[in-house]
């Protein structure tokens, strides 16, 4: 479903602020795969997701979604097939518009816009049923503006909006990092349910080893703009958080990780 070949990107090339988040990434994701991505800060996880979403265009390499080369396409063009949930719960929704209107924007994804009153009674009752799945008692508040909701509620709605129009690919960028543990667990539960229901091809960046191991059928580990480990489902079953940390320790030995990086990893994942 996703084929990434030798993807490279350099920001601020030739200046003191030069950053090279992607230094030759190769990745093949099959339809229905649920890939979790882990790695240190600045290892290129989020950049990889942004590159797939089309937030920026790569310097070289190619991205294929479902066999179609989308390397040179803008984010809004790819958005027909790709849905995203951001780390910041405020990014994924329009705060001054109502729940129904936000859901309607998501529903319009990939559909031709017409000057018609699309948000009719039929759609509203459909949205009410969808919102009911969130089990957050939001189904009676369809006409409340999003700005009045909590971060967890907004993130759950963003997730719902992302899966509303059955995308080919779902991108989750640390979408529970800004939430309290209880809400985070609730959002993870919803994620699992939605992904499994539609068998969505999913890339999920996480800072939680536990999430990385529990969710999905494959885990990749990134460092310095490259994929350094690819752990398939069979292996994952046998892995523990400690195993993953050991893997990082091994990297330390091969000088691929500095002491500080390892330390930051322990802090974050343990």
């Amino acid at each position: 479903m996703i084929t990434i070949r030798d993807l490279r990107k350099t920001f601020n090339a030739g200046t003191a602020n030069e950053v090279r988040p992607l230094r030759g990434v190769n990745l093949e994701v099959k339809e229905g795969d649920f890939v979790t991505i882990i790695g240190t800060n600045g290892s290129g996880k989020s950049s990889l997701l942004n590159a797939v979403a089309g937030k920026f265009l790569p310097d070289s390499g190619s991205i294929l979604i479902g066999g179609e080369d989308v390397t040179r396409k803008w984010d809004w063009q790819r958005a027909r097939h790709i849905a995203r949930v951001f780390q910041n719960p405020f990014t994924g929704t329009a705060p001054d518009m109502t729940i129904a209107e936000n859901l309607h924007i998501a529903w319009l994804r990939g559909r031709t816009h017409y000057p018609r009153l699309g948000l009719n009674a039929g759609r509203r009752s459909a949205y009410r049923e969808q919102v009911r799945q969130l089990e957050m008692q939001l189904e009676d508040r369809l006409d409340n503006v999003i700005g009045t909701l909590s971060g967890g509620q907004r993130q759950a709605l963003t997730l719902l909006m992302a899966v509303l129009s059955q995308p080919k690919v779902l991108l989750l960028d640390e979408h529970t990092a800004a939430l309290d543990p209880k809400t985070a667990a609730q959002v993870i539960k919803l994620t699992r349910r939605f992904v499994e229901k539609d068998r969505l091809t999913t890339l999920m960046v996480t800072h939680s080893m536990q999430q990385a191991l529990e969710l999905g059928n494959r885990t990749i580990m990134m460092n310095a703009g490259q994929i350094i480990e690819d752990i398939p489902l069979e292996e994952k079953r046998h892995h523990t958080v400690e195993d993953l940390l050991d893997k990082f320790a091994e990297l330390r030995k091969t000088e691929q990780l500095t002491e500080e990086m390892l330390e930051s990893l322990r802090r974050e994942y343990a």
């Binding site: 936000n102 017409y114 948000l119 503006v145």
Partner: protein
């Protein structure tokens, strides 16, 4: 009533701009100020179409499309070129200024007689007050617009557009092409502004290049007021709030005006009100955030209410305070009889002196503000909507008469006021704004005084002072209607001076004037000749700075700045123009109908010369100019000139018995007529009648305009002068038409019999007599043959509109045959056309050029003389003094003698003879003057006996 209804109407037409601003600033979160330009673009496109007869509803559609395109350009600059949105708007707004001028082709298009949407609306008026009916129509339109807009914002398009504005990242993540929607939103917003502009143009009756200034702020005020009055997340409520906000904003200003607040403070009040609203809504939002639940919500509502009362109370208190101060300073309300409203567009030297002249003359005529009349002086400070509101206020207050100072005020007034008299002044041309077709055929409730600055005269003076190749520089603002007219006149006038070339620079604001003056200097301008341009005059010191540094003489029209070292100025006395306005007001208040009062041309011209500056530049000023000057700058001091209007001679009601007054009208100021006047005055003084009857002589020149001559003649009759003397044929014609009573003596008239004032010398209009001085055409042609025995063709250029010239030309046609000449003719309608006509005649190989008594052609004599001198063709004329101005041989009347003859006849009339019994005197002198140096230069030998004859008549120069 009209004030409030008018304010609501204005609010309703500006509401479309409000919605535009709502879409950009609120929906899109995009500070787009293109609207200032697209508003005008809509007005311009609409006005041009309507003026050319298009359906006004179609014009609204066109205005929408044009203005929407402007929005697309802003969006393209912002999205494609990644230019900051605010900057993109500023760029397009600035550029649109030029585009709008191109669209309109001038700075102001009147729509008074055109079919607009409002004309259609009135045609289905069931009998309501027109303004109220207009208001009903606009309310309906706004309700429809409100419904459509609300519906639109709820469609898929609308929802997506709102999402793009609210959270572009979210929209992009959901597959929305953010830039396309931004473009769409900007197009829509500017389109609505265009519609608003088009409607405003139709409502106020004209489109003006400056009408868009401040539209963004007005729209923003509507949005903010709307939000504070109706705070609801519902789209319908938000849109309604904007429409309501627009109306409230206009009502607020109307209220401020109605309690007599000085319009100067309006802008400050607007800013203050908007700020107050912002602060309060922020406070309310904080209150909302802190409290929850039903009780909290109730508390918020109550708090909101309370705040609203506080806002309203504060504004009312401020208004009341300012109003109170205005009233305590203003006129008292006791014992008033007449109510006169005066509205002035803005403050500058010309308008202020017109207003002061108006007030002074009104007082002189016996109207004492506060005692027997109430005088309201309003100044709109350059803001068109304020003009509109002031006029609504005048309407409401049932004033007896409205006086408008400046063209924009007049335009707005004649459109809004139909049921009471309007007197305008300081309007260059009332016909282009639709106040009338001619001086007598005009809107029934409108009359006034007008006049365009005389560029031809200025050019003539300058050319006499500096008769050489010269680059003349001028600066002007293409946005000002008057400047466009004046520049056109200047170009026309310069066409008659082939050795003068014009270099020009344009400005759009006062801040550019200094740079423009420098640019002119760099282009090699050797003289600054400034037309009457308000922008340039406001920054006049910048021009002077450049002129002084580079030693460039400056000549001005209409502005008196001799003390700053300008060489000279010629224009109208605008306090006199104001006084004329006051006299018209007096006539109307005494019962005359405005429909029966023709438009008057300005009467008082001012002419100032700076002798110090002339000395510095090494320019010699001829005595004849000094004699004409109304004031002079000499040895660092300002002194009244010989032609100054003495206070005692000023127009005013006649005081019978106290002294007698003679009115003297001359058609223009050419040298022949000035000599005639000299002769008349000489004789009047010599005879002693002036002292004997304690007489004063008021001399008026019509500046070569029939319209002005007519106004002056009418004024003579109205003021009941005791005697009238006219010099020149047109002066006689015009005066004989309007005056059938006052004794009238004429002079410098070629053929009074042709004109119908007399059948024979003895049989003439009973109240007039005078001197007919026939041009010695036959003698002239005979002389031509004598001087040039081999010549074949005589060229002549003449103006068929001049009766006297026609007579001369017909006579010449007859006579030339007898002497074997062929006459080559060309006709002109103005002095500016003379050089071209002359060249066309010269192209047909003439041997002699001849000008007889043609006033139009005579004004261009120096130019003609120069061209002929270059081509070595002898120039014959019929006034001996012409040799001083470059004619070769002149034979005809000594006009000083004609004047003396006229003066003697006037003395007879003053001494009690009835004009009826005095026969017209036919005076045919044959004085010869020869320009020997010129004759030698062009290779012509003047026969000895002719030279002798010339010497015997007078010594040669």
């Amino acid at each position: 009533m009209e004030l409030w209804v008018g304010a609501i109407c204005l609010g309703l037409v500006y509401a479309f701009t409000g919605i535009g601003i709502f879409i950009t600033f609120r929906v899109h979160n995009f500070p787009d100020i293109t609207v200032d330009g697209s508003f005008t673009l809509g007005a311009a496109v609409g006005a041009v179409l309507i003026a050319s007869g298009a359906n006004p509803f179609v014009s609204i559609l066109a205005a929408f499309v044009a203005a929407a395109l402007a929005g697309v350009v802003t969006a393209a600059i912002h999205t494609k070129l990644n230019v900051n949105g605010l900057l993109a708007g500023i760029l397009v707004m600035t550029g649109l200024y030029s585009v709008n001028l191109h669209v309109m082709a001038r700075s102001n298009i009147p729509l008074l007689d055109k079919t607009t949407c409002f004309t259609y609306l009135q045609s289905v008026n069931p009998g309501m007050h027109p303004e109220v009916w207009t208001c009903c129509g606009l309310v309906l339109l706004n309700v429809l617009f409100w419904l459509l807009m609300t519906l639109f914002l709820k469609t898929d398009y609308g929802i997506t557009m709102r999402a793009v504005g609210n959270n572009p990242d979210m929209a992009a993540a959901n597959g929305v092409h953010v830039n396309a929607y931004k473009t769409f939103g900007l197009a829509l917003a500017n389109g609505f502004a265009g519609v608003s502009g088009c409607l405003v143009a139709q409502y106020q009756g004209f489109a003006d290049i400056g009408m868009g200034i401040g539209t963004v702020l007005m729209g923003l005020a509507a949005v903010i007021i709307g939000e504070s009055v109706i705070s609801s997340p519902s789209v319908a409520a938000q849109v309604f709030g904007v429409l309501l906000g627009s109306v409230i904003f206009r009502l607020m200003i109307a209220f401020a005006l109605s309690i007599g607040m000085n319009p100067i403070d309006l802008k400050l009040l607007t800013a203050f009100f908007v700020l107050l609203t912002l602060v309060i809504s922020a406070g309310v939002a904080r209150g909302k955030g802190e409290k929850g639940g039903v009780l909290g919500a109730l508390g918020t509502v109550l708090k909101l209410r309370r705040f609203r009362y506080v806002t309203a109370g504060a504004v009312l208190a401020i208004l009341a305070f300012l109003g109170y101060r205005h009233y305590t300073k203003g006129p008292l309300r006791t014992g008033q009889e007449y109510r006169i409203g005066v509205v002035q567009y803005t403050s500058h030297e010309v308008l202020d002196s017109a207003r002061d002249g108006f007030v002074a003359e009104l007082k002189r005529l016996g109207y004492q503000p506060g005692q027997n009349c109430k005088l309201q002086l309003e100044n709109a400070n350059g803001d068109m909507p304020t003009v509109s509101s002031i006029i609504d206020k005048f309407n409401t207050e049932k004033l007896d008469i409205v006086v408008t100072i400046s063209t924009p005020c007049t335009q707005a007034a004649i459109n809004k006021i139909t049921d009471r008299p309007i007197v305008f002044t300081t309007v260059a041309n009332p016909f282009v704004i639709g106040a009338g077709k001619t001086e007598t055929d005009h809107l029934p409730n409108v009359t006034g005084a007008y006049g365009e600055a005389r560029m031809d005269k200025i050019v003539n003076i300058v050319h006499t002072l500096i008769p050489r190749k010269l680059k003349v520089g001028t600066i002007w603002n293409p946005a000002l209607a008057n400047s466009v007219v004046h520049l056109g006149n200047l170009k026309k006038a310069l066409a008659s001076c082939p050795d003068y070339t014009l270099v020009e620079t344009t400005v759009t604001s006062t801040s550019e004037v200094y740079e423009a003056a420098n640019a002119l200097n760099n282009k090699g301008a050797e003289l600054f000749l400034l037309i009457s341009d308000n922008t340039v005059f406001s920054a006049f010191d910048s021009v002077m700075k450049v002129a002084r540094r580079n030693n460039i003489p400056v000549f001005l029209s209409n502005l008196d700045r001799l003390q700053d070292g300008t060489l000279g100025c010629l224009g109208f006395d605008f306090s006199g123009a104001g006084a004329q306005g006051a006299q018209l007001v007096d006539r109307i208040l005494k019962g005359e109908k405005p429909s029966g009062i023709p438009f008057e041309h300005y009467r008082d011209e001012t002419f100032g010369l700076n002798l110090d500056a002339a000395k510095n530049f090494g320019i010699t000023i001829p005595d004849e100019f000094i004699k004409q000057a109304t004031f002079l700058h000499k040895d660092g001091k300002r002194v009244p000139g010989p032609a100054a209007r003495k206070a005692a001679e000023g127009p005013g009601p006649a005081v019978p018995g106290a002294h007698k007054r003679i009115a003297l009208l001359v058609f223009n100021d050419n040298i022949i007529l000035r000599q005639t006047i000299g002769g008349v005055m000489e004789e009047l003084e010599k005879s002693g009648v002036l002292r004997k009857y304690n007489m004063t002589v008021d001399t008026k020149s019509a500046q070569g305009e029939f319209a002005m001559a007519q106004s002056i003649a009418q004024d003579f009759v109205r003021q009941q002068y005791d005697y009238i003397i006219t010099i020149s044929t047109p002066a006689l014609q015009v005066t004989a038409q309007v005056n059938k009573k006052i004794p009238h003596v004429f002079g410098a008239v070629t053929d009074p019999y042709r004109m119908g004032v007399a059948k024979t010398s003895a049989e003439h209009q009973p109240n007039l007599t005078g001197v007919a001085s026939f041009q010695p055409i036959a003698a002239t042609v005979a002389l031509m043959r004598k001087v040039l025995p081999n010549a074949k063709r005589i060229g002549i250029v003449w103006n068929p509109a001049e009766a006297c010239s026609e007579a001369c030309t017909y006579k010449t046609r007859e006579v030339v045959k007898d002497y074997g000449f062929e006459l080559i003719e060309a006709t002109v309608s103005g002095t500016g056309e003379v050089p071209d006509a002359l060249r066309s005649v010269l192209g047909r190989k003439v041997d002699i050029f001849f000008t007889s008594g043609d006033n139009t052609v005579n004004l261009a004599r120096p130019t003609i003389a120069q061209i002929l001198r270059e081509k070595k063709i002898p120039y014959f004329t019929n006034a001996p003094n012409d040799v001083l101005q470059g004619s070769c041989v002149s034979i005809g009347a000594d006009y000083v003698e004609v004047g003396r003859e006229t003066g003697r006849m006037a003395v007879r009339v003053i001494n009690g003879e009835d004009p009826r019994t005095i026969p017209i005197k036919d005076y045919v002198p044959k004085k010869i003057a020869v320009n020997l140096p010129l004759a030698r230069e062009i290779g012509i030998t003047i026969p000895e006996d002719v030279v002798k004859q010339a010497e015997s008549s007078e010594k040669q120069p």
